[in-house]
């Protein structure tokens, strides 16, 4: 009888139980293997089958890749070497095509004696992007980041440095107008004026000013035309410009779509839906073929620039929808608290709403960027020599006629490295901005 009542009898603990190590069978690698690989008979079978499949795949691909031939001048020579070493039936890669043509895959038909310019530009780009990506870099470096696009343009395309400087001065002019006009004329007039004045300047004063400055102090590099650029350099120019430009544009569109102002709201909705509803390839053909009809006769608008504009517009529509999701996910109380403190619309957006909405949207934004970067390969259809276009060009030579896998594996691997690092960065950023339980 007394046993059954043991739980109901009053109880006071006199000694506390010390913390103890878990039993050996419940910790470390042994536990992990048991739990994850061999927990039930079915799991044991599945584990064994999976290991077999993995072995099957690797046993075919690894020798092909590892034993590959790096030193040959043509596919035919590759095969001769293979026959000599491994016998005629062996299947091995011919990496020699990469070894011989990697310059072309990276730079397209950029003049070889000028390769230092894109390389230097890439290094400068890394230095310029660092303060944007990592908060630990001193904030003053952001000024360098702001100036970098103009210097990079000059390095890649050549010409006079004064051209980009004169264009950049237009932005500074806009900022100055904004600074002094807004207190005097109000926010809306200030913004309009800050857009109009630089536009006027660009269409009238900009070119003569650059010419005059260049006459006094010439800072010129040899011109390189867009047609000569190709390979990963082209993919990166289009991809990175598109990413950098579409984020701000996308945010503005998302805010426009949330706006109470009827016309702004409807314009944003129409823009987003039209751009999103048509395939990118159609927009690229529009850029390469149709845009010339709409431009004044005689204007020669660089094809690469047109493609960058189209890619930017296209991905900004996606960014806008992703950011709108972030805006909608914020509790209404955040908007109300910002309003109740007397912050005006732009301040509450900048200080309260967007920092939180963008943080929520990071995975979606990076996802869109990765998509944009890979979509740059579509420009092959309008005659630009992106890596895929170059692989076609390389195959067109008699030396490398018939080589497919090696080029595609290399191109795929390079894209994977870029996209994977973007994905990793997004995870890093999400972790860094996490505010709960710290």
């Amino acid at each position: 009888m007394s046993d059954t009542h043991a739980q109901t009898v009053p109880f006071v603990r006199d000694t506390m139980v010390e913390e103890q190590e878990p039993p050996l069978s419940q910790s470390g690698a042994y536990k992990w293997t048991r739990e994850n690989l061999f927990s039930t008979p079915l799991n044991i079978i599945l584990t064994v089958v999976s290991l077999f499949v993995i072995w099957l795949v690797l046993s075919h691909t690894l020798p092909w890749a590892v034993l590959g031939i790096w030193d040959a001048d043509s596919l035919a020579q590759c095969r001769e070497i293979r026959d000599e070493i491994y016998g005629p039936d062996a299947s091995v890669a011919c990496w020699a095509v990469i070894a011989e043509r990697w310059n072309q895959l990276l730079f397209g038909f950029y003049p070889p004696e000028l390769y230092w310019r894109p390389v230097l530009a890439f290094v400068l780009f890394l230095a310029a992007i660092a303060p944007v990506l990592f908060a630990s870099v001193p904030r003053k470096a952001l000024w360098f980041s702001a100036a970098a696009p103009f210097v990079l343009y000059w390095l890649l395309w050549g010409g006079s440095l004064w051209g980009p400087i004169a264009v950049g001065a237009g932005f500074a002019l806009g900022a100055v107008v904004m600074r002094f006009a807004t207190p005097a004329l109000g926010a809306l007039a200030g913004v309009l004026l800050a857009i109009l004045v630089p536009l006027l300047y660009w269409f009238t004063l900009c070119a003569p000013l650059a010419g005059a400055l260049n006459a006094v102090i010439p800072l010129e590099l040899v011109d390189v035309r867009s047609n000569d650029m190709g390979g990963f350099m082209l993919a990166m120019i289009i991809g990175i410009s598109g990413i950098a430009l579409s984020l701000p544009l996308g945010i503005v569109l998302a805010l426009g779509r949330q706006s109470d102002l009827f016309i702004i709201n409807k314009c944003s909705v129409i823009f987003i839906e039209v751009i999103r509803g048509v395939p990118l390839i159609v927009w690229l053909f529009t850029a390469s073929l149709l845009l010339n009809y709409f431009l004044p006769p005689g204007t020669n608008f660089d094809l690469m620039l047109r493609v960058i504009i189209m890619v930017t517009l296209f991905s900004s529509a996606y960014i806008a929808e992703v950011v709108r999701g972030g805006l909608a996910a914020l509790p209404k109380g955040q908007y109300e608290a910002a309003d109740a403190l007397g912050l005006d619309y732009w301040k509450s957006m900048r200080l309260i709403i967007l920092p939180q909405a963008l943080k929520i949207s990071i995975p979606g934004i990076v996802n869109t960027f990765i998509g944009l970067f890979k979509d740059t390969t579509l420009v092959v259809f309008i005659g630009l020599l992106d890596p895929i276009g170059l692989s076609n060009a390389i195959r067109a030579s008699t030396d490398w006629n018939g080589i497919y896998w090696e080029l595609f594996v290399f191109i795929g691997l390079c894209f994977f490295i870029f996209c994977f690092s973007m994905g990793r960065y997004s995870l890093f950023l999400e972790k860094k901005l996490r505010r709960e339980h710290r």
């Binding site: 007397g342 005006d344 709960e436």
Partner: protein, 262 residues
């Protein structure tokens, strides 16, 4: 349950002046076809502490949210500190910076530290230098008794602490009027007291306050006037003693018997 804690407070220097802080005349509001607020007339003098009670859905929150235009009224007039609330954005921002508001769900900014939450509006709206804003913020954080949390994020604080930060954040704007929209409704019983104590000390300093709350002990101890609302209108208003001991309207009697029943 708060009676014991708050009944003993000193009311001697809680003076009410003749100056009008808020004047609401014939204010009406509709949500679509639903008539939420009907002919609201209310005058609040400087230094007055008003508690608004009533069943849920009676329009209490909507009414005080109209005072800083988180909600728009469609008819009638609201004058705050001599400025009429209309569609003029400048007036609205001016009034909002003079009127502090504390919400039921705190609405702290989770991406900013406690200190940044408190200094943001003074720096960006009032253009106070950062050092000075931080000093003010620390002063008010000490007043609500959590200066040691200044560099944490809101997510790391308890509900009661968050609500006290929200009060400090409003005070940093040096408001002339404070609105409280059910400040203790989302809190555990233990935390309600710490928030109410903060509000009592604010009342003792003579702040003009309008509180929507279900804390009747607080109403009895602090309020000059209790307003009872039902179905979008003011049904009864009186001094707290008379309001609780001798309610006149049937609806008020029913309400009081419901909430004071146990």
């Amino acid at each position: 349950m708060q009676q014991q804690a708050t009944e003993t407070i000193d009311r001697s220097h809680m003076t009410v002046s003749d100056e009008v802080a808020i004047q609401i005349t014939k204010m009406n509001k509709w949500y679509g076809n639903f008539h939420v607020l009907r002919d609201i007339d209310l005058t609040v003098h400087r230094g007055e502490r008003i508690v608004i009670a009533g069943p849920s859905g009676s329009g209490k929150s909507t009414m005080i949210r109209c005072i800083n235009r988180l909600e728009e009224h469609q008819a009638g007039k609201i004058v705050v500190d001599g400025t009429e609330l209309g569609s003029d954005l400048k007036n609205i921002d001016k009034i909002r910076s003079e009127v502090g508001m504390v919400f039921q769900h705190f609405n702290l900014f989770p991406h900013l530290t406690i200190l940044e939450n408190c200094t943001l509006a003074p720096i960006w709206v009032r253009k106070v230098p950062k050092k000075e804003a931080e000093a003010t913020a620390m002063h008010f954080l000490e007043k609500v008794k959590i200066p040691e949390q200044a560099h944490k994020y809101p997510g790391q604080l308890s509900g009661g602490q968050q609500q006290r930060v929200a009060i400090a954040r409003s005070l940093c704007m040096k408001p002339r009027i404070m609105l409280f929209d059910e400040p203790t409704s989302a809190l555990d019983p233990e935390m309600i007291k710490e928030v109410l104590d903060t509000m009592v000390s604010l009342a003792e300093e003579g702040m003009t306050m309008i509180c929507v709350t279900h804390e009747m002990g607080f109403a009895q101890a602090v309020a000059n006037r209790v307003i009872f609302m039902d179905a979008g209108q003011i049904v009864e208003q009186n001094e707290p003693k008379a309001f609780f001991n001798n309610p006149q309207h049937e609806r008020t009697k029913l309400f009081l018997s419901q909430i004071l029943g146990h």
